[in-house]
Assembly symmetry: C2
DNA sequence: CTGAAAGCGCTAACAC
DNA sequence: GTGTTAGCGCTTTCAG
């Protein structure tokens, strides 16, 4: 017959349990477990042995309350499903890895209301910093960010005024550059295919910039096609078919993201359309997926990983700037012409 | 000249600040903010007004410590990059949405050591439950799960013994079923293409089951090809080329996931190979991406969303079972023959 | 309906 | 090196 454990197995263990089991004061146990201060090797051994054999897991809630320190970084992004944010996340977690900080992710689904509530929820855990996508927030969200008293990094976009720091690219300029490249390659009848998402400000800014680039050459969009939801690759096929049926004389299709662009490319190839001769194509993002396509779609790299890295560095205080806030890091996406824009 | 704010703007607000600003006791403020107990409308108004105008955000750390209640659910998964887990996540968050519970995600990169440390880290925040991918864990992780004293749901796989509850499919059987379907369609020279990941136990079990299915018909794998890292779509192309060069008489390729399968399909189509006549193809997962391909890859739906939903229901206590633990929910993936297996 | 007192489990700050 | 004391900001419990 085995003896019943000394502590109720349902109750989670506390420092006191470890303290009693090891005959060392709670304070010293705490020191050992956090590798703080000087503790003799013999005491350390006793404590570690007791903690391990009991299966003690420290209570960070209590620790955080007492120390006013939380090793969490709130990361608030619109979506996880489109390949772009997972890469930002990689950059963030790799950078945070050896700082003791931990990213905690919240998803907004491009909804300002969700963003507001996710932000509120995360701030209530008093994180060490916030990394949040975009510069556009509801007034309440903006107020929360301003008064949070912790480093805030708004990522992806720098066309606007950040609350604190910002890391990203100019989507407006990216759109303009793509327009210029397309025009330089001799295309004139240009169509746009994108998402119908009023709250995707970055896609909107790219389109604005694109239109601006066209306008400078005296051009306007010859046709437009929008979608929402569903498999992006499939939507790309369908939209491409639709826009080409409606406006057969288009000589270029600019897609708001690579996934629908890839769908369009597959459609065009299947139709035997001469790409990039008769019809040029371009997307946006530089997603890895494109590498596996039969032909390389023209695109612009959105510097996703770099954005994550820089944002995390700001939060971790790794960047040289002594002062809190105010840092804006602009990254410059490279145009990757691929095989779907005519060489000039 | 504006008057300085009463409280130090750097310090975060506390209940006391709201209490003083509204002339209501901390306790009643707390009641109002949590919608607990009866509070008169007039008091409620005063409190809400004060809280809002100050921009008070409650401190959940203190709240959790005092109430011994945390509205967090730890979700521990191997990866976010392959489309399968994001869908599980959707199922989880949709289900948790109206329960007041919040998922917090940890990524292990298929590393048992990472899993152990992520689990430790998450348990130290005393979540209300744990949803964790797979049934295989290090001894230490297993011990932590067993003694956590909260509901644990192991997801994706049911070929094994769960610590507490489990929701998933039998990957072994899924592999066997695919083998049977392939054999029934008349294919005999079968190759396998997959990832070289010793810690992807589900992929291994599928392959085991697949081999078993072949063995029952007196067959063995005619060739195998493995990869790790990189763009799955591209790897699919490359591996397919490699295996067909090496063993040209293969009449079927079984891929361990849809993404490399899609790459293989694109390769075969580009080569003008007769699919499914000369060569049949199949993947695994049922990813949405496949809808956009020129031809539909045969696959099996892994019930990702359903798994997330059921797991979350168990944690939220929404399932009928009164007793804690012990529930195992098996889901049954449907074989989707698509256009890449000969009709019999 | 409202308030006062007593902790939740840990750590900062200080003694020894 | 190690122990003691006093909270962290909230909620539980119990009085009014």
């Amino acid at each position: 017959m085995t003896k019943a454990p000394v502590v109720d197995p349902r109750r989670t263990l506390t420092l006191r349990d470890v303290s009693e089991a090891s005959g060392v004061s709670e304070m010293t146990v705490s020191r050992v477990l956090r590798n703080r201060g000087d503790v003799s090797d013999s005491t350390r051994e006793k404590v570690l042995h007791a903690a391990r054999s009991l299966g003690y897991v420290p209570n960070k809630i209590a620790g955080a309350l007492a120390s006013q320190r939380v090793n969490l970084v709130a990361v608030i992004i619109p979506s996880m499903s489109n390949m772009v944010f997972p890469e930002v996340m990689m950059g963030i977690s790799d950078t945070l890895e050896d700082t003791g900080l931990q990213p905690v992710v919240g998803i907004t689904n491009y909804s300002p209301e969700r963003e507001e509530s996710v932000l509120y929820e995360m701030l209530s855990w008093r994180p060490s910093g916030v990394i949040i996508a975009g510069l556009e927030h509801s007034p309440a969200a903006h107020a929360m960010l301003e008064s949070a008293g912790i480093p805030i990094v708004e990522i992806m976009d720098i066309d606007g005024t950040p609350v604190d720091s910002a890391v990203g690219i100019s989507h407006r300029r990216a759109g303009r550059q793509m327009a210029e490249a397309i025009i330089a390659a001799g295309y004139r009848r240009i169509g746009f295919l994108g998402t119908k998402m009023p709250d995707d400000h970055r896609a909107r800014k790219r389109l604005d910039g694109f239109r601006e680039g066209l306008a400078r050459a005296g051009l306007t969009l010859a046709d437009e096609e929008y979608y929402r939801g569903g498999s992006a690759l499939l939507k790309g096929r369908e939209m491409t078919e639709a826009i080409l049926k409606r406006t057969p004389d288009l000589d270029f299709l600019y897609y708001s993201n690579d996934m629908i662009g890839a769908g369009g490319l597959l459609y065009c190839l299947a139709q035997g359309i001469d790409v990039p001769g008769t019809l040029g194509l371009a997307g946006f993002n530089g997603v890895e997926l494109l590498d596996g396509l039969p032909r390389k779609l023209a695109t612009m790299d959105a510097c996703r990983r770099e954005i994550g890295i820089h944002a995390a560095e700001i939060i971790a205080g790794k960047r040289p700037t002594g002062v809190i806030g105010g840092e804006v890091i602009e990254l410059f996406p490279k145009l990757q012409p691929g095989d779907t824009i005519r060489k000039v």
